[in-house]
Amino acid sequence: MRTWRHRRRLTKGIEKENDKDESIESLFQQLNASNDFNVITCQFEKCSLSIGYFSTLIDSEILHRDVLPFLKGLDVISSLPTLLPIEEVILTSDTSIIKDNLLKGYTLIFDVNNLNQFGLVKSDVDKTRQVSLPEVEFSVVGPKESFVESLDTNINLVRKRLPIPEFVVKELTVGKLSKTRVSVLYIQGIANKENVSTVIQRLSDLDFDQITDSSIITQLIQDNQNSPFPQLIDSERPDRIASAIGEGKIAILVDGAPHGLIGPTTIFEFFSAFEDYFLNWLVASFFRLVRFFAVLFSILATPIYVAVLTYHYELIPKDMVATLVTSRSAIPLPPILEALVLELAIELLREAGARLPTKVGQTIGIVGGIVIGTASVEAGLTSNVLLIIVALAALASFTTPVYQMGNTIRLIRFPFLLMAHYMGFLGVAISFCYLLIHLLRLTSLGRPFLEPFYPPRVQDFKDSLIRLPFSLQSKRPIQEQTEDTMRYSASKAKKNVDP
């Protein structure tokens, strides 16, 4: 919190400086501080031109091939656009525009004797990654494209899937230092206007210095920033973004971020993988239910074990008592410590695996899983029953298709665990109530987060915990409050209204 305030002050300082220097000389003076800023002055037949650029930002081939050879015939700057074989040439006299574009990779061309008009020629180097396979949201069937760091490429990937004029891309610049381009994507006539203006309003109100990724945007614009739950989905799949836009949602793409954001959304959407739409609806529904129960299991399994062993021995069926007691008889730790040690060990493994290169990470997983697991059971530090439960719970938490949600699930297990230790089942029940109320209070862009469960909308269940066949999906979800409610005309479908 404190660092943020500090940063804000810093950016304000820079703003003030910007206001002061208006002349081109002082701009050059400022830019000359960097070694990669070059100014060349050449004497041509008709005038003497200066060319300024950042050598690290421009593609020198463009400069040599498409700019320099044509400058010979130049007499006034204003004829630059007609002379050069490049379509993006800006004529301006505004120093701030010059500065911004120089920093974006434009080449500045001006007449040394006439400082009233400047030409800016787009010559930036395009050094982006090739479109590659999705890694986080991999699917066996379906498209295998994923976003890259270039906003234009990303928009291209989405627009290819929505070749209609109603598809709108609104661009904003966010961030005092990073000047990040942020695009809001939606379809006019489908997306709710209120939602669109909410997003644009929140983005333009943002007062932050550096936006390095879309996840920073999520944290800054979501409804409740102190909630562990992400309230906007992030996806690296252009097909998922495009289909969400088609549903009436609004997508946000950020330059330099290979993940787009979608909202408004519901908690159930975080447990649906995009692959669900490529599978038969029965299979997909089954997988979704499995994932949902995996989450419940992952949150509740260890706390229930701790609660039962610490307080509620009566609950254990008589045939299971012996198994549990013998597995625990040699262990000196109380159940809570035993569980915490194991849970933390799993977290360590995950964290270590995430920080190391893939191949080393895999080894760590195997070494940690097998060696530490068996050793701790043999050493009498943990019981083998708990080891199974914790390992299954960890496995279950990895089934969540959206990475951010998986992290949340792993975090909220710990309060449950502690409460189970303090108050047994009562503690688990209280934590569960707390979680429910929290989810009830959450909203995503002002729309309820627990929908269609609450407010109960039977119609929206068709694509939440289960996925019904496409023939029954003729209406867009009520959640989005779309302007055009029908996806396609199903002759019998009624009007899509909130009951």
């Binding site: 307080y311 021995y313 009566e314 008589k318 012996a322 007691v325 013998t326 109380p334 108050m423």
Partner: protein, 358 residues
Amino acid sequence: MVKRILQSLLLTLLLTGCMNIDQRILDDIQLSTAAGYEYIEDDTLEITTVFPSFQTDKSIKSETITDSSTLSKEVRDKHSLQSEKPFVSGKVEVTLYEWKTAEKGINNLLDTLQRDPSIGSNVFLVVVDGSPKELLSKQYGNPDNGIYLSNLIEQNIETGLIHKTNLHQFLYKLYAEGIDPALPVIKQEDGQVKLTAVGLFENDKLVGQIEEEQFFIFKILLERKGNKDSYSLKLNEDEEISIYNIGSERKYDIQKPLTNSEIIINVKLKSSILEYQNGTLKNEKITYLEKEIKKLIEQESLEMIQQFQEKGIDPLGIGEEVRTRTRNWDQKKWKELYPDLKITVNVEVNLLEKGVVE
């Protein structure tokens, strides 16, 4: 913001820190699985408690502790005095009552079972022919004695050999007007436990028993709908048959309730033949057998009911049938009427199957 989070964290820690709930960690408590009661003097009770001791090689040793006192919960404290872990009663599966103790009445001993919320309703109550202390101090199988005995009784209920019984059923019958409880009786013989009889109670006092041979009759008369359980009859010197109950149905026919008019119990018995000792089974023979079996069962039922009437007990719940048929039920009047009532049993036997051979 940070301050608020810290405050709330601190608060929850404080709150939960002084919740003051005592822990009962599974491996730090002594789970008693069975308790045997016996009056050694007039009001001094000897209680034997069984608890499993888990060995390192994963086998389970059954151990017992015996103490005597006047209140049963006091005994628990005495138990704890000689134990490394505190005793808890939440996993008690069976309670045993010595024969004489049961004759004295077990109502007082049941109070703690009812009052203690940690004791379930599925606890089995049994009467022991002999000393419960002796019975419990032997080891019968790999699980401890409590679980062994509970499995023994549960298995017999499930296969239909004895009627359904547990703490709840006993209390139901104890408090109900017009039915008396019955409990299984076990006996230890040559290091083995055996279910020998069903003990009959008048209120909470043991007054008699019915033998193993009568279990079948008792069950079909007691349960409105029953099945399983086999029955062997001796028709005459060299004709013996064993039948298996596929489905029995019992119906009461009471014309004028709470008067001394006749009460008719109709039993429909569908069964199959398990074993037959005398020749092949032709159709004519089957009808003959059905008649014979009917005669035998009716006769034995009548004998049994007469025995009940003489003792003035009603384990079959005839009184309950009368009660639910009249608006002016009077328990006293019924008690007076009952011993001299004419009760008839009508049995309809249907031999449906005769196995895979003729």
